[in-house]
């Protein structure tokens, strides 16, 4: 199966509209996801692939239904955020950006805006002291999950959306990380109005706004001159074996709302590899940080895990033997709506575990997670939606606290 790896560089920003309608407020307003979803990018690739196929194979004309069916083999296998100085050297591992993990807390200093990054670590529930859940089932397993606890009382600050490769590798190895810079793409709101061609004046009820995520910004360090920084989407995709198009994608791509123009820069699969600096030692505990959103059949609970004697026990890709889920730090679920271009109607809404969620595990037999297992988990796929690069994980080490009296 051939794999095409490239980087998408949106020229004019992106507006990837979320599920909220235009008419939920007095003025029509299009809300954008703060970062494009993998499913949006795959949709754009499927559209581009169909156009390329029809161009390279004269006489081939697909109906929307055929297009939908034949392009199903276009799969997104990697999806990472990238950030580099504008028009710098080719993209490399150091340019990767990862979602801020849910087990990190930015804590404000006594004086000044932000003081430190604190680990949010799960602790064993104290027997008989926790409140019971009111869930209809699996209460014992949920009660058995460990609870995250902070070690200080400082006030948490707003976390950035992303942090850098160096910071993430450091964090996964269990080290402390300095306070990250605010490294998130900015958003602006564009106002639009329709002009009535016969009167050349604004048309009634056609004033609307749209959020745009900008991927180019000027950043300044101290007194130095500002430098332009660009954000991009790094991805790998597979094409259908029978209909592979050479040189895909050709030309610019239209991405997100209003098909914003996006340049394409070729890269190699090495851009998605496990970094050489990530050299973990064998560890009693494992943390899995979601690098892309995950789609699990039972909401927050990972696929393949079931209740077993008051614990959630299951298996993980690339890991030998059963593991016990000790804790799950899951931010608010991500609701994803989409449009069916064939039926011309909305698709079923999906709920994903957002990128940045963190799950903690121990092996059921008490063994260590080996260094090989940990490295093999780098961007392994977990849960459903593999064709949309969902559920790709970053492995981290964790030292479970000893049981009381141990």
């Amino acid at each position: 199966m051939s794999q095409d790896c490239f980087v998408l560089l949106p020229r004019d920003g992106l507006s990837v509209k979320d599920g909220r309608g235009w008419y939920t407020s007095e003025v029509g307003r299009g809300h954008s996801h703060p970062w494009p979803l993998p499913t949006t990018v795959r949709g754009a690739l499927r559209a581009a692939w169909g156009q390329d196929l029809m161009t390279t194979q004269p006489g081939v004309r697909m109906t929307p239904a055929e297009w939908e069916q034949r392009s199903a083999g276009v799969k997104l296998t990697r999806f990472v955020a990238l950030r580099r100085f504008f028009a710098e050297s080719p993209f490399e591992l150091a340019h990767r950006m990862w979602p801020f993990p849910a087990d990190a807390v930015l804590v404000g200093a006594e004086k000044g805006p932000v003081g430190r990054v604190e680990h949010l670590l799960p602790h064993r529930p104290a027997a008989g002291r926790s409140a019971s859940t009111l869930g209809p089932d699996e209460d014992s397993a949920r009660e058995g999950l460990w609870h995250p606890r902070r070690v200080s009382r400082g006030k948490p600050s707003t976390a950035p959306r992303f942090w850098s490769e160096a910071e993430m590798v450091c964090w996964l190895l269990g080290h402390d990380v300095a306070v990250p810079q605010e490294l998130s793409p900015e958003q602006r709101t564009d106002l639009h109005v329709s002009i009535d061609p016969s009167r050349q004046t604004a048309e009634d009820s056609m004033l609307h706004s749209r959020q745009v995520v900008e991927l180019l910004r000027l950043e300044r360090e101290g007194e130095k001159a500002p430098r332009a920084v660009e954000w991009a989407l790094g991805l790998c995709c597979e094409q259908p074996e029978r209909d592979a198009v050479r040189g895909f994608p050709s030309g610019v791509l239209g991405l997100g709302g209003r098909r914003r123009l996006t340049d394409v820069e070729r890269v190699t699969p090495d851009l998605f590899a496990c970094p050489p600096e990530f050299k973990p030692k064998a560890s009693k505990g494992l943390r899995l940080v979601l690098a892309t959103p995950a789609c699990f059949a039972r909401g927050w609970l990972p696929d393949g895990f079931a209740r077993d004697a008051g614990l959630y026990v299951g298996s993980l890709p690339k890991v030998a033997g059963p593991v016990v889920l000790r804790a799950a730090l899951v931010p608010r679920a991500q609701d994803v709506s989409a449009w069916d271009m064939v039926k011309k109607e909305p698709r079923q809404t999906r709920r994903w575990v957002p990128a940045g969620a963190v799950y903690f595990f121990e092996k059921q037999r008490g063994d260590d997670f080996t260094a090989e297992e940990l490295r093999a988990l780098w961007l392994a796929s977990w849960g459903g939606g593999h064709e949309e690069a969902l559920g790709q994980v970053l492995p981290g080490v964790w030292t479970p606290p000893p049981a009381s009296g141990a």
């Binding site: 020229r11 581009a48 156009q51 390329d52 329709s194 009820s205 332009a228 030309g251 610019v252 123009l261």
Partner: protein
């Protein structure tokens, strides 16, 4: 998708605004938020291009290029379309800003960042040999020109060349910049033949920090007032300021197209682009304040140099 770069040359002050502001200027220009670079959104240009063809008898052809028309305003008009328009118009970004100078009336000022953005817009769309190389970076508050001999905006102080841009007095490197000269030459190819040496004579390269100061402060700001017809005096509470890009501003953008999806009008991507770009130097009125002469622009493109991927 096939794509081509285009150039917008403002012939009168160009006001493409955001509608309102809480700042000092009541009607500011639209800008990229994170960089402050003034832009003309692609949606604005696309609407104007479409409107310029409203008298065409072949409505289907126009719809094939620009997309099906909305039949009704508001929520009732939100019907799924049978096909999409073939044309995508990218935003036009500032490329060179005319700035007042004590010598030479005005300079067309640009910076390494603006040229690097333009270079990417050209990348793959013109033959490699046609794309000028990136210019070397500049120290803070420094400037360079393509030709010390030909540039109309220089003056010499103690034998050293300088330029005055608004109230900035910048030292100019005492040698010609061959890289900038090739930019002036290639950009000039899009302009009418009688204006081609304008860039060689007026283009001044400044560092990005100075440029960002200029695109914030060297735009045209007009104060206007409504006159009460009853009294012939200024109407109460109707004094406002509006910002424009001055005449002679150059902006650069990209247009892209697929083949047309209209069931009756089959157009190749290259036809769609040629149709959208029109004849060389198509005159358009963009942005607001049309009735007071704002927004007259020339839409230009490079005749030589092809397009990229054919889809």
């Amino acid at each position: 998708m096939e794509s081509r770069a285009y150039l917008l040359q403002a012939l009168s002050p160009l006001h493409v605004g955001t509608g309102q502001s809480v700042g000092v200027i009541d009607l500011p220009l639209m800008r990229m938020r994170a960089t402050g670079i003034p832009i003309v959104p692609g949606s604005s240009l696309k609407g104007v291009l479409r409107d310029s063809r409203k008298h065409d008898s072949d409505r289907a052809r126009s719809d094939a290029i620009f997309g099906p028309r909305r039949e009704k305003p508001g929520p009732e008009g939100d019907q799924p379309s049978e096909y999409a328009g073939a044309l995508v118009v990218g935003d036009a970004r500032l490329l060179a800003l005319p700035v007042r100078g004590f010598v030479g009336t005005f300079a067309l000022v640009t910076s390494p960042l603006l040229l690097a953005l333009a270079r990417r817009d050209w990348g793959g769309r013109m033959g490699d040999e046609d794309v000028p190389k990136p210019v070397a970076p500049l120290a803070k508050y420094q400037a360079r020109v393509a030709s010390l001999k030909d540039n109309a905006c220089l003056y010499r102080h103690d034998g050293r060349p300088r330029v005055y841009l608004e109230d900035l007095d910048l030292e100019v490197e005492n040698q010609d910049d061959a890289g900038l000269a090739s930019w002036a030459e290639v950009l000039g190819r899009a302009l009418p033949s009688e204006e081609r040496d304008m860039l060689l004579r007026r283009l001044v390269l400044v560092d990005d920090e100075t440029m960002s100061f200029l695109w914030e402060t060297a735009t045209q700001v007009d104060t206007r007032v409504s006159i009460n017809p009853e009294t012939g005096t200024a109407a109460q509470g109707q004094l406002w300021t509006e910002e424009s890009l001055p005449a002679e501003t150059l902006l650069m953008g990209v247009m892209a197209a697929t083949r047309a999806w209209h069931p009756e009008r089959k157009l190749a991507a290259s036809e769609v682009l040629s149709e959208a770009l029109g004849g060389q130097g198509t005159m358009l009125q963009l942005g607001g304040k049309a009735t007071v002469g704002r927004g007259w622009c020339r839409l230009l493109s490079w005749q030589s140099g092809g397009s990229e991927g054919q889809r």
